[in-house]
Symmetry: C2
Subunit: 375 residues, 2 copies
């Protein structure tokens, strides 16, 4: 091989798509500190703090709270493979791409997914969920997405979890885009299993997936009759390393530097406080909304359940989707998101997540879009 390879210097970007979002420079700095051994006492001290800080962010006392050493999709899979056994039945609510991914996960566990479908861009209908629960008294869990990244819809996590509990089901929640951006109260809302991602409102690098399991969920795992189909994601083994019961058994080599970064990102959230962080996301969203409506862009999702951190607007008639996004990227270094699945070509998704949810990004986005759409 005679080719030459240069070190990779990324172009300057402002990330306002559906994630990864702009990473706080303090987090990039933490990321690059020298690697420690994954059983070093100093590193184990860090792991303990990460666990405590995740309990804070999720608002939970769950002992089984830690980051899975892989992206959000693996966090999703860790929840399903640990809680489900072949033959189980799960009610899955879908009003966007990620409900469909849950269905795939359920099926690959040899379980049945009973789908509750709602129009993309609208909320999951509580009445439909209750009907599904009545029609399926043998369901083990209700699974849904808190913040649908593909549409910008907030589902009513509190109400759906309450419904699930009333019908003696576990509640399983996708909080990939909600954690740190909008209200989330794992213990208060009686959520049994939840997973998130680091690259959205935590403003950390992509690659880890915080998860948490309630006492009831842990009991279900303990009572399993079949082994968890994934060795890598088997919570019983993973927790042997994360210190359940005081143990520190080697399972896999933790992504040490990514955990430095997650620690720093949770520390920043802790210093700001949850309510102030949620309020900042809301305020930045309001400012962006005024700016976009001023230049004639219309929001798709009803205001009552619109996510502040993921703003979905219709692409105006006659405007070329790919051309506009291409100009924003090449001329302004600005990334916004395309539509996913059935919304491809019809909408843009503008993220205001974590560190990136600030006035400078809001102004820059409105100004760049104004300039490009005028042509």
């Amino acid at each position: 091989m005679t080719a030459q390879f240069n070190t990779f210097i990324p172009p300057v970007r402002t990330l306002m798509g559906p994630g990864p979002s702009d990473v706080d420079p303090r987090i990039l700095n933490a990321l690059s500190r020298p690697t420690l051994g994954h059983l070093d006492p100093a590193f184990i001290g860090l792991m303990d703090e990460v666990k405590t800080l995740l309990q804070f962010a999720f608002q939970t006392d769950n002992q089984l709270t830690m980051p899975v050493s892989a992206p959000g999709s693996a966090g999703m899979e860790s929840v399903f493979v640990n809680l489900l056994e072949p033959g189980d039945k799960v009610i899955v609510c879908q009003n966007g791409v990620f409900g469909g991914r849950m269905q795939q996960n359920v099926q690959r566990c040899g379980a049945t997914a009973v789908m509750v479908q709602d129009t993309w861009g609208q909320q999951t209908d509580l009445q439909k969920v209750e009907e599904a629960l009545k029609a399926n008294p043998d369901a083990k869990a209700v699974a849904f997405v808190h913040a649908e990244t593909s549409t910008g819809v907030r589902n009513d996590a509190k109400a759906i979890s309450e419904l699930a509990k009333r019908y003696d089901c576990l509640s399983i929640v996708d909080a990939v885009t909600s954690l740190g951006g909008i209200e989330l109260d794992v213990d208060g809302w009686q959520i049994d299993a939840i997973y998130s991602g680091t690259q959205k409102c935590l403003s950390c690098v992509p690659g880890l997936s915080p998860v948490s399991f309630s006492h009831a969920a842990v009991e279900v795992i303990k009572a399993r009759k079949t082994p968890v189909q994934s060795w890598f994601l088997d919570m019983d083994l993973v927790m042997g390393y994360w210190g359940q019961g005081g143990k520190r058994a080697y399972h896999h080599t933790a992504p040490v530097n990514s955990l430095y970064a997650l620690h720093e990102s949770l520390r920043i959230l802790h210093n700001e406080g949850l309510q102030p962080a949620w309020q900042r996301h809301d305020e930045m969203h309001q400012t962006l909304k005024s700016g976009l409506e001023n230049i004639g862009l219309e929001f798709v999702v009803d205001e009552a359940y619109r996510l502040p951190q993921l703003n979905m607007v219709s692409i105006p008639d006659g405007v070329n989707d790919a051309e506009v996004r291409g100009q924003l990227l090449s001329e302004f270094g600005l990334e916004i998101g395309a539509g996913l699945g059935e919304l491809a070509g019809k909408v843009w998704r503008i993220g205001l997540m974590g560190y990136g949810s600030n006035m400078k990004n809001v102004d820059y986005c409105v100004s760049a879009l104004t300039s490009v759409l005028k042509r």
Copy 2:
């Protein structure tokens, strides 16, 4: 929560355990560059180079070559869940911890593992492998560990793979600790599926697992009758993102910054060249060997199949394992590895991997051990 959390500053360490190994500062620098979107054209260019550089490191033309977005254990799992279906039979060679992990993976796929056991610290016996192949004409694959991290033994990857092919089986190789440290020739040795890790001889941060599948392995995946049990590790979906057939479909959010780091680490290996890198590992091993034997430490593994990058020595009689490792860590900032499994308390494992395989580390280790063992 009133606790205060400080930013984490890792203590100064020299990592000479079984991995993670000392990370090259150039790689830590690359790691901390600003995050790009996972579908940004500039990032896709980087992915293409990572793929090319991995083909170089593995010495393969395999199109299905890429890093799994999770640690080596997930790379191992990706190989088994994609190649196996319930009812399949695999011959698994075990002469250390990691052969046992392969067995667990095979079983969790609903397949049968026929074990070929050898003493820990000795090589896998080719005759036993051939007997197992003769006794199990329905076996689909032979799986083994190239460099057993738990013992420092090199198994004869070329000979075992040839045997597997002669009996019409796929060969599955764990190269977590071998890639970049000793000779490895995926195409020349007819290896069908292989996985590695980034935190050993590539001197990169932990968290990614390079994998490669031969044409024959891809045909087996294509002919599957059942879906891959893992959505996250389903190669058909993963390759939709990594550009098989020119596609770039969103699957999961890639760990962007870790891929910057892997790119830099492979670039460094490419600049050095494979043979020079292997030779450096061997030379550093010889120097360490002299130093350790001078202070009375004995190697466990026969010289003919000893790994240069993982040096296993017996703990002398009357020496307290934990005390010595504790003193090395607290007084010298030096991490060496404990024994794993049945070798716990009996051996130390001293890594000389990648960037860490240098004279300074060799000298420091011998000098620190000399000082501590004299007490």
